[in-house]
């Protein structure tokens, strides 16, 4: 039997069927080009990295890992309570009960001593010292002082301090109330002003944790992913083809450069959609997981809130539109850069630089003052992030959505024209 697969890798074996079905390909040259580009992309190891490994595995891990590591229930912080004043035993016992509530490992020891080396060696994250005279000061109406020994560089020390401080505040409140009762003074009397925070939202409802994530993170993330999604593929499809000397042979076919470019764009857009949506979905899960593990807010409730049918439709449309518009805009910019560059390396440098240029407005949008929004809706790149924000966060503001969408489309047309000009140049073949 003929060894059909001799010398072929597993990926080729897996995708060979696409090539076989090439006989049944449509006649439109741009679709043929798109087919070939996708086939090549599937066989490129970098595709696995960009489309599968990075978005599906790495992104959720990167996002949720810090929150997971700081969650007291994941790795409980170790707290040592040193009681040098027998009167402070009540407070120490309350701290000891933290083990049941927060999962922190609390050890109580009596008597003084120098325990600070336990912090430096990492055996303990926080030492709480209840010094001599503490109870006397508290019971006689003065201030009882506790001492925290902690590692300023250790995040777990801060977590432990936060846990203990809650008990201390509670204890302090109780003592305060007792003192006020003894002199017949109400709590209101010593708290003349209290601020009550009320949320103002466009929907009129109260924002949940998932709403806040959606408003702050999602528009930025959507735009970011859309614009930077297919940079690697854009370099490969233009500068890579030139470097492999296949572009000259390709241009000897009776197919216009416009058709060839359209085929490449189709493949690039599909790849950026897949990579963008995969990254987005996994990042979103990562964020929700991180928030729920850090705040105790159940992801089981946060995710369905985002997935309410009324919101889901608008959200999905907004995300899809942004990823498609952003993907096309980003690809047009990348194709322009890759066509302009003389070598593959040069193209990589341009694309790296442009990625940064494109990313900065996306990161800045959540922090921009509202008064700047009308301007940001008209500027290149930021118009796209604003469109995402308007679609996802302010669905009611039709004028805002239209202005950011119109500006994004105009910039897309401009970038597409520029990329076609660059791809049409003679130097695109020979550098």
């Amino acid at each position: 039997m003929v060894r059909l697969f001799k010398g072929s890798s597993g990926v080729v074996k897996f995708t060979r069927g696409f090539g076989q079905r090439g006989y049944a390909l449509p006649d439109a040259p741009w679709l043929v080009v798109a087919w070939k580009e996708l086939l090549e992309a599937f066989r490129d190891r970098r595709t696995m990295l960009n489309v599968v490994l990075l978005p599906v595995i790495l992104m959720p891990v990167v996002i949720s890992l810090p929150a997971l590591m700081l969650n007291p229930k994941t790795i409980p912080p170790k707290i040592l309570v040193v009681v040098d004043d027998p009167g402070g035993m009540d407070l120490a016992r309350r701290m000891k009960s933290l083990r049941n509530e927060s999962g922190a490992l609390v050890t109580v020891v009596s008597g003084g001593g120098n325990f600070t080396n336990l912090i430096l060696s990492g055996e303990v994250d926080l030492i709480v010292e209840i010094p001599k005279g503490f109870y006397e000061n508290v019971s006689s109406g003065r201030t009882g002082e506790l001492i925290y020994y902690y590692d300023p560089y250790g995040a777990r020390s801060s977590v432990a301090m936060g846990i203990v401080q809650e008990v201390v505040n509670q204890y302090s409140e109780e003592v305060l109330r007792e003192r006020l009762r003894a002199i017949n003074v109400s709590e209101e009397y010593i708290r003349p002003v209290v601020a009550v925070a009320k949320q103002i939202t466009s929907t009129g409802g109260e924002a949940t944790t998932s709403d806040i994530i959606t408003a702050m993170v999602l528009p930025m993330m959507v735009g970011l992913i859309a614009i930077t999604g297919a940079g690697t593929f854009a370099i490969d499809m233009i500068a890579g083809e030139r470097e492999r000397k296949t572009l000259e042979a390709l241009f000897t076919n009776p197919v216009s450069r416009g058709q060839l470019l359209m085929g490449k764009f189709t493949a690039l857009t599909l790849l950026s959609l897949v990579s963008g949506l995969a990254t987005l979905l996994s990042a979103l899960i990562g964020v929700l997981f991180a928030v729920s593990s850090a705040s105790g807010y159940a992801s089981a409730t946060a995710i369905p809130q985002l997935m309410e049918p009324s919101r889901l439709l608008y959200l999905s449309f907004g995300i899809l539109m942004t990823v498609a518009l952003g993907g096309l805009t980003g690809n047009a910019v990348m194709v322009t850069a890759a066509s302009f560059a003389k070598t593959f390396k040069e193209a990589q440098q341009y694309v790296g630089f442009l990625t940064l240029v494109l990313v900065v407005p996306m990161i800045a949008i959540p922090y921009a003052p509202q008064s700047l929004y009308p301007v940001l809706r008209l500027l290149p790149v930021s118009s796209l992030a604003m469109f995402a924000r308007d679609m996802i966060v302010n669905p009611g503001e039709l004028g805002a959505v239209i202005s950011s969408l119109a500006a994004s489309i105009l910039y897309l047309i401009a970038f597409l024209w520029l990329s076609a000009r660059m791809f049409g140049r003679e130097s695109v073949i020979f550098g």
């Binding site: 006989y23 042979a249 009776p254």
Partner: protein, 247 residues
């Protein structure tokens, strides 16, 4: 009938004049050899004819169609084997042919038959499903040749078609070039292989420093150079050492 005509073709890259005022005619059904030392302007001339470089001035006509006015029509009538094979490394041998066949608008049944036949003739059937990256230099060259003649265009432009190919395959390619011309089609061949030129070409043009030095049949050039061996003829003509009257 004239199949290919170069009319005062000139190409400048900045201040450097790669090809200057180059004119020649290639008759239909003939094999035309384009000879010259490295950097003489052969590849640039071919690239202008097959439409990937735009002439600075002058033009070329293929089967009467002007390359400047209708480049896509010209490309439809030409099969090209460029200087670099241009084989896609991540596609299999078969996929490389399918891709170009589809881009050239071949009907599927005919494309399938041609792919089968060419892979068989060029001894590449066993490599059909092997990605081109794993093929040897010679196998890639044969694949690129198969790609150039896939839809049997009336004009074939070949830049070093047997470079890196083993003796048996080179012989097969030469036989196919000869057959191609005898079936009424036209071949323009750029090569450094003197023996190949002697055996295949009806007419030969010698280019040096971007200018056409001499053009004629082998006998014409022999008379002009006063030499019998074709390699000697070539060397003398490139150096401008002629004994006869230029054609």
């Amino acid at each position: 009938m004239v199949a290919v005509e170069a009319i005062s073709l000139t190409k400048a890259f900045g201040d450097f004049l790669a090809v200057r005022d180059l004119s020649f005619k290639v008759e239909e059904g003939s094999v035309f050899g384009l000879l010259g030392p490295n950097g003489a302007g052969k590849t640039t001339t071919l690239r202008m004819i097959y439409g990937v470089l735009r002439p600075t001035s002058g033009t070329a006509r293929v089967m009467g169609v002007d390359v400047r006015e209708n480049p896509l029509e010209v490309k439809r009538m030409m099969g090209v084997l460029p200087e670099d094979t241009g084989v896609y490394p991540r596609l299999t041998a078969e996929e490389n042919l399918i891709y170009f066949g589809k881009l050239r608008g071949m009907e599927e049944g005919r494309l399938r038959r041609r792919v089968d036949k060419l892979l068989d003739i060029l001894d590449l059937s066993e490599k059909r499903f092997v990605i081109a990256d794993k093929l040897s230099r010679g196998q890639k060259q044969k694949l690129a040749f198969a790609r150039a003649i896939l839809d049997e265009p009336p004009v074939l432009l070949l830049d070093e078609p047997t470079l890196g190919v083993d003796v048996m395959s080179a012989r097969e390619i030469r036989r196919m070039i000869g057959e191609y011309a005898s079936s009424g089609r036209t071949v323009i061949l750029s090569t450094h292989n003197m023996w190949e030129v002697e055996r295949l070409c009806d007419r030969i043009a010698i280019i040096s420093e971007g200018t056409l030095r001499y053009e004629g049949s082998r006998e014409d050039l022999e008379r002009l150079a006063g030499e019998k061996e074709f390699e000697d003829i070539f060397v003398r003509l490139v150096r401008g050492e002629t004994v006869g009257k230029a054609v």
